[in-house]
């Protein structure tokens, strides 16, 4: 154990921080949550609001599975305190589809088989969206630089790059037919 018994006792005796009200707009919907300061934005999104599309991977800011857009910028929800996001706009993977219809970017990922186990996919798509919002026709090096914070152990990344090239209309044709047959 890292903590000595004395340290553990003193931390228990310390007065508990009071919970506070945090107001967030998640995918355009206002949410008010009451959290203590040590709660992460990821826990609010998944456990308080119930949007489990955003994944909980490494919990240390390494894998990018928890990427969401905070005021339009891609950030790692696992290392962002919820209290630091009070009053901000959050967009998660659920905010891309409308009425059960996937967005064109998500469809491009399916077309290129750029998702396999799917655990990294929400983070990768949110990073891609942030890139495409600021740069509608990114080059391959720009795509690779924007996605360097997202780890994928399945696809080998090439299909992800192709999906973004297809979406941005840069001459990459769909790999899969729309009926799902290869």
């Amino acid at each position: 154990m890292l903590d000595s018994p004395e340290k553990t006792t003193s931390s228990v005796l310390r007065a508990r921080p009071k919970p506070r009200l945090v107001t967030l707009s998640i995918n355009g919907e206002p949410h008010e949550v009451v959290v203590r300061p040590h709660i992460m934005l990821l826990e609010v999104i998944r456990d308080h609001v119930g949007l489990t599309g955003t994944k909980d991977g490494c919990e240390s800011g390494t894998c990018g599975a928890c990427t969401v857009l905070l005021d339009g910028k891609p950030v790692l929800a696992c290392i962002t305190l919820a209290v630091e996001c009070d009053g901000m706009n959050v967009q998660t993977i659920e905010g891309l589809s409308e009425g059960g219809q996937l967005s064109d970017l998500q469809e491009a990922f399916l077309d290129q088989a750029a998702t396999q186990c799917g655990f990294c996919t929400p983070g990768v798509i949110m990073s891609s969206k942030a890139l495409l919002d600021s740069n509608p026709k990114p080059t391959v090096p720009e795509i690779k630089k924007a996605l360097e914070g997202n780890l994928c152990r399945c696809t080998g990344y090439n299909s992800i790059v192709d999906a973004i090239l297809q979406y941005s209309g840069q001459g990459v044709k769909p790999l899969m037919r729309k009926d799902g047959a290869p």
Binding site: P37, E59, G61, V75, L81, S127, G149
Partner: protein, 333 residues
């Protein structure tokens, strides 16, 4: 999930943050981007009882004064620095180094001051100890230095990994430190103690407020390289930054500054190599010799599985390439 609770409040100005840090009696830390502090709190290296958030402090825009000095608010996000046309033209070395830090999501949150104030790294320090080890190392209050068991208790050979610090050092930058006594401006060289246990000379309740970067003259050249294994979202294996000025013949070196990071307890200047470079005619042959001299002068700590000879070789090759690129860029300009 952080396994302990703490208080949190947002400061509205830097002065208020400094005052609050002195007023609060429990262990308190500033929270800027949190991309270093929060993971450290998660694994138990930092256990503050109170955080003073700096995210709501209005960030001052970056400016260039009449003499050409770039002034950057230390709370500026790295993504903003990396994409700023002003920084790219006034301090290209700073923009290049900010571009290499971690991944895009980290750079969107991380701040310049936070990058300079980051915790040192060691394979045995920056991980959860319930995963592999029973006892913590010296830096965590334990009784062993795992990579160097013969170290004395007051010696920690963890490595300071900032990618930006060597760039600022090579550029001759200065920092304004805000403490209870008011702001103090000093050379960035004085910010680093060279002690792995306390890598910065900042006292409790002091924060880096501004970073000032001097102008690059028309005769100036700059080079930067961060060696990594994977090429993205990584701490450096070795970081090399250099600037030099050319004489009117566009070939001889007037003076030079070379800083190496990620291989010691703080970024280091290579004063012998700098002195040897002065007055030297720079060409492929002389740059090869200077890079060899630099790799012999630097004394890297073996870290993260990289041996000392390997790090020296890496610096010899990539410092030469960075110098060649710098020379080519300056001669074309």
């Amino acid at each position: 999930m952080i396994l302990f609770e703490f208080e949190h409040e947002n400061a509205t100005s830097a002065e208020e943050a400094v005052t609050r840090l002195h007023e609060i009696e429990t262990e308190t830390r500033f929270l800027a981007g949190g991309t270093d502090l929060i993971p450290n709190m998660r694994i138990g290296i930092a256990k503050p009882a109170h955080l003073v958030g700096l995210g709501r402090i209005l960030r001052e825009p970056m400016t260039v004064d009449g003499e050409g000095w770039l002034k950057v608010d230390a709370l500026t996000r790295l993504a903003e620095i990396e994409h700023s046309d002003l920084v790219t033209s006034a301090a290209p070395l700073l923009a290049a180094s900010a571009h290499t830090v971690a991944g895009n999501q980290i750079r969107q949150r991380a701040t310049l001051g936070g990058n300079l104030c980051q915790e040192t790294r060691c394979l045995y320090l920056n991980q959860k100890h319930d995963f592999q080890f029973v006892e913590p190392c010296y830096k965590r209050g334990g009784d062993c230095c795992y990579p160097f068991p013969k170290n004395k208790k007051e010696v920690c050979w963890s490595v300071y990994m900032s990618d930006i610090a060597p760039a600022l050092m090579a550029a001759g930058a200065e920092v304004t430190v805000l403490g209870a006594g008011g702001p103090v401006r000093m050379s960035i060289d004085h910010l680093f103690s060279g002690d792995g246990l306390r890598p910065l000379t900042l006292n409790l309740g002091e924060m880096i407020r501004y970073v000032h970067v001097p102008p690059m003259g028309k005769d100036s050249a700059w080079g930067y390289h961060k060696s990594t294994v994977r090429g993205g979202l990584e701490f450096g294996m070795a970081v090399m930054a250099l600037t030099f000025r050319l004489d009117a013949d566009r070939e001889s070196c007037k003076d030079a500054r070379i800083a190496i990071g990620a291989v010691n307890e703080g970024p280091v200047r290579l004063s012998k190599t700098e002195a040897a470079m002065q007055g030297q005619r720079l060409n492929k042959k002389s740059l090869t010799e200077l890079a060899e001299m630099a790799s012999a002068e630097v004394n890297p700590l073996p870290h993260h599985g990289f041996s000392k000879p390997h790090l020296r070789d890496n610096i010899r090759v990539y410092l030469r390439r960075a110098m060649e690129a710098a020379l080519a860029r300056a001669q074309q300009a």
